[in-house]
Structure formats: C-alpha cells, structure tokens
C-alpha cells in the first residue's frame, strides 16, 4: 500500500559510473559477463570492479580465508569503489559468488551486484509494509535470498547471500 512500485527500469543513455554511450554498453555486455555477481562465477567480480571504477584486492585469492567444517575455505575479494564504499565478494571453492557484504558512505549499486536476484530483492524491500508507517533497517529473509541493510546516512552496511550456496560450515555472521 505505502510502497510504490517503480515500474520498469529505464535504460538511459549512459552506463552508470563510466559515462560512455549506451551503444558501448552493448559491447561491454558482449565482452564481459557484465550484469551480476551474486550466484555468478568469479569473472563477474571483474565486471563489478569495472562498474564501480574500483580497485580490487584479493591477496592472491587467499585473503580472509574462512574455515569450513570439511577443511575447505572460501575466498574474499574486496573491491574499493571510487565512491568510497568497499564491497566484498565471497567465492565458494566451486568459484561461485555466494555472498556479498559492503560498508561505506554510499549505497552500492545493488542492481549490478545482485544481478538476477535484484528483482526478487526489490520486490521484497518494497513490499515490506505493516500496520504503521515506519523507518527501519532492511531485513529480508526469504527462501533463496537474504539481504540486510543497516547503518545511517553516510555510513551504510549490508550483506546479501544465498543460503543454499553457503559452503558447508560457513556461518552467516562471517559475511561482513
């Protein structure tokens, strides 16, 4: 009732962050798996980095290795976006991005980062309603997708993950 549906996403003449014409977007789409990270493979992180005009640190793919029960680990690749926000992408041993976390002064481009999960997330965040008008943190816990967004103006924190894709033994609180 209170949340307004935004309707279809409009494609304007510019790629966000790159300022190049939309015709070039088509070339990028062909050249890179440009749309998506969550649930995608490691190559999508490269696309996110380009999109965010960011620098990436991954310490030879070994940064912040998490301990899984079966002795396996995941790796974290962090993109420091040009706008000051850091995005961490969690790669499973199978090379899939199973989680994202971010913090910084601006909200990241979740259309880019959530990829195919963006519409599910958007529908959930905008459908959220109750008896009263409220302003509160975002906590979406659906089958197949968890998204949490908190913090304050100029200091946002958040995470998104696919519960079914968490490597065995990995706990949600490790994603931050």
């Amino acid at each position: 009732m209170r949340k307004k549906d935004l309707g279809s996403i409009q494609s304007r003449g510019w790629i966000p962050g790159l300022r190049i014409p939309a015709t070039a977007l088509m070339m990028v789409v062909i050249a890179l798996p440009a749309w998506a990270s969550l649930g995608g493979d490691s190559s999508t992180i490269q696309a996110d980095q380009v999109h965010m005009q960011g620098t990436r640190s991954m310490s030879s793919g070994q940064s912040s290795a998490g301990q899984a029960s079966a002795g396996r680990s995941y790796t974290v690749q962090e993109i420091q976006a040009a706008n000051g926000t850091a995005v961490r992408e969690y790669l499973s041993p199978e090379g899939k991005v199973f989680a994202l976390a971010w913090n910084g002064p601006r909200m990241p481009d979740l259309r880019q980062l959530l990829g195919g999960y963006f519409e599910q997330y958007r529908a959930a965040v905008q459908a959220k309603s109750g008896l009263r008008m409220t302003r509160e943190p975002v906590l979406i816990d659906e089958a197949g997708l968890v998204v949490q967004i908190g913090g304050r103006v100029r200091s946002y924190t958040g995470r998104a993950y696919i519960p079914e894709m968490l490597p065995q033994g990995v706990r949600a609180e490790e994603i931050q």
Binding site: G17, Y121, L131, E136, G150
Partner: protein, 400 residues
C-alpha cells in the same frame, strides 16, 4: 544462556538505580521542556499527516520565495536528527513555486538515499522559517517522481521512492543532524547524488558545498550551531501524542544552555554502545528512526515479529535493558530502557508515541544500536553541527 543474559541485564538495572553517577537521567529527574523563546518551535509526536506513523516527531516549516513575503507553511514535517537538509513534497506546495537551481543551464535534481527508501526531485531555493528563526536562500529538495524521471543511478538501491504523502508519511523531512550540507565536501559525480537534468535525461554531476541541500539551522542568522530536541517521557503502554520543542542554538540564549548534559563527541557521526560486554562502535542517535533498533533475537532474548505480521521488523516480546554509550571523547553513560511487544503497542491504533518500541538492527553480526525516537522521550538531546562552536566544544557531538 539466555536466562543468564536476562539476569545480568536486570542486575545492572538495579545497580544503576542505586548508584549515583551511573548516567541515564531518564529514570531520575524529569526534563524541563522549553516552551517560550524566539528560538523555540513546537514539535509533536503524533500519527503525522497520514495518521499511522509510530514514533515520529513533526514540526511546521514555512518556505518563502527568496526575498519575498510569498510564503507557505507546511505542517507535518518529520524532524530527523539522522539526516541533513530540508525536503518537502512537491504536492505540499499548493500556493507558491520556488526558483529552480541550475547547472550549466540545466535544472539540478537530487537523489537522497535513506535507510529504507530514497527521495528524488529538483533542488530549489527558499527562505526558510521555523518558529521565529529564518534562513535565506536555502537549497531544498522538492520531492517528486514526475518533474524528472529518476535515473537508474538513483534506483539502484532497489528501495522504493518516498516522494508522496503515502510513501513518506509526512509532508517533508527536516534533517537537523550533525552536519550542515547533505553530501559533504567533496561531492563528486560518482556519488550519484546530484544530477543535471536536460530534457534528454538526468546525468550525475559534482555539487559544490554551497549549492547542496542544507540543514536550515546552519543558515539561521543566529542560534545556528545546533538544536535541542526536547520531548516529555511517555508512559510504558504508549500515548496518543505528546508535545515538545525543537530549540535552536546551544548556549546561545538563556534557554538553551548545556547545563548538566554530558557531551558525546562523534567525529564520524557515530558512538560506541556497550552491552553485555560487547562493544558496538557503529551506533548512533536518530530521531528519524522510529524505535530502538539493536542486536537481534539471539542476543536480546526477544522474539521478532514475523514478516507476515502487522509489525514486521519489530520485537514482539518485552524486557528491560541497560547499555552504555561512549563518545569519542571518552564520555560514557548508562542508558536504561525497556522493550515491549510491538503487537501490544500497536493494538491501540490511536497511540503514536510508544516509548518501548524496538526491533533488531540485523540478523547477525555486525550489529549496532540505533537510538531512535523512544530514546528522546524524557530527555533533552543536543545535536551540535559539525564544525560549529558551542560552549561544549566544537561539533559534531550529541549531548544529553
């Protein structure tokens, strides 16, 4: 384990109740609310223009075409210490039209992201009056989905827009928090906050500090170093509405001295809250959050109202808590508060002031404490603007 935590919390409450100097004035002397003075504007915690807001404080703001007496008063403007700048629904302007800010001959629009929504619309200029205080040529955001189409860079948070009475629940928001300008310096194009909007569509631009939407208090001729939000205490079961004051200036008049309030400096606009031997350094005080949002059910022992209830995002059971806030300057003080079931609190639809309303801040670490509007009940909370001089030191800080 859970029983242990409850026991510790209760024990701390009792200890605090008997120890002087443990901070937390909420249980001792009631605060005095200033009602007279040229620097005082009345505020009210009520259901707001839509009637269904819980725990939000509203004020009246008058906007004038700059340099003229062509003005309009907008009621039901939400008082938000968690943001900076004045934003008013386009639909609230029924009798005046404000001049448009431009960049390179094109109109300027803004995308401002809140925690669960965004606002979009043109940046226009007004003389702003709140109570008897006036600020000249204030850039304000006029909220409208239709003046210009919000570009993808604005909608990429996935949030819904809050540009209508139905979605905002208010006729506007006045951000009177710790900063003056709403983006800061610098505010480059890749922040995707300000846009120029030729007919071909809106593209991001850098916005100079002086052009940004601004906390109008910072532009008042006097009493411009911050505000005090003064609200009375509210009974445990809630009340239909309560009245208080928004006082301008800190230590600038006879009615706005710091007195015995403790100063919690906040260089990064946050403070550290400690609870149960854990510290949460990303905590903050925010009148625009309509509850105590903190921790989760596993750490509080409270149950969370389900997503399919009429109280999603709130706690649905009750308990007493005691936590400690610490400023960057080392000042610390205890805060005692209680949470009650939102289901019970919301059951009386006429009650809009709810002192025990709360919910989780997240479902797992990292956690933080968002000291929302219930924290303000029974307190005078000072908000000093970044860089402003006050008798309590230079802002940004909170004091209470």
């Amino acid at each position: 384990m859970r029983e242990m935590k409850i026991f510790v919390s209760l024990a701390m409450c009792f200890i605090c109740a008997f120890l002087a100097g443990c901070g937390g004035s909420s249980h001792t002397t009631p605060n005095t609310i200033t009602s007279t003075g040229t620097n005082v504007a009345p505020i009210s915690v009520n259901g707001g223009p839509t009637g269904d807001y819980a725990d939000a404080a509203f004020a009246s703001v008058t906007l004038c075409v700059p340099g003229t007496s062509t003005c309009q008063t907008v009621d039901g403007v939400l008082v938000d210490t968690g943001s900076f700048g004045l934003r008013v629904l386009s639909s609230a302007f029924t009798s005046i039209s404000l001049p448009q800010q431009s960049s390179g001959g094109n109109p300027v629009a803004e995308c401002f992201t809140f925690l669960d929504s965004y606002t979009w619309g043109p940046v226009q200029t007004a003389d702003v009056q709140i109570g008897s205080e006036t600020a000249s040529s204030v850039p304000v955001q006029v909220l409208s989905d239709t003046d210009f189409a919000a570009p993808p860079d604005c909608t990429s948070s996935g949030f819904g827009s809050a540009d209508t009475l139905d979605t905002l629940g208010a006729n506007g928001i006045v951000g009177v928090g710790l900063a003056a300008q709403d983006c800061g310096d610098p505010c480059p194009a890749n922040y995707f906050q300000y846009f120029e909007c030729p007919s071909s569509g809106c593209t991001p631009i850098a916005e100079a500090l002086g052009q940004q939407v601004v906390n109008p208090v910072a532009l008042f001729a006097t009493d411009n170093n911050g505000v005090i939000v003064e609200l009375p205490s509210v009974s445990a079961g809630g009340e239909a509405s309560v009245n208080g004051s928004l006082v301008f200036g800190i230590g600038t008049e006879s009615n706005n001295a710091l007195g015995s309030a403790s100063v919690y400096t906040a260089p990064e606009f946050g403070l550290t809250t400690s609870y149960n031997n854990q510290t949460y350094p990303e905590s903050f005080i925010d009148s625009g959050s309509n509850g105590y949002f903190f921790l989760d059910s596993s750490l509080t022992g409270l149950t969370t109202c389900g997503d399919n209830t009429e109280e999603p995002g709130f706690y649905c059971s009750g308990q007493n808590f005691s936590a400690t806030n610490q400023g960057s300057n080392g000042t610390s003080g205890t805060v005692n508060f209680s949470i009650a079931s939102a289901q019970t609190l919301f059951s009386n639809g006429n009650y809009s002031a709810l002192s025990n309303l709360g919910g989780p801040s997240s479902n797992s670490a990292p956690y933080y404490f968002d000291w929302g509007l219930p924290f303000f009940f029974g307190k005078n909370v000072f908000v000093a603007i970044d860089g402003a001089n006050t008798p309590g030191g230079t802002g940004p800080y909170w004091a209470y």
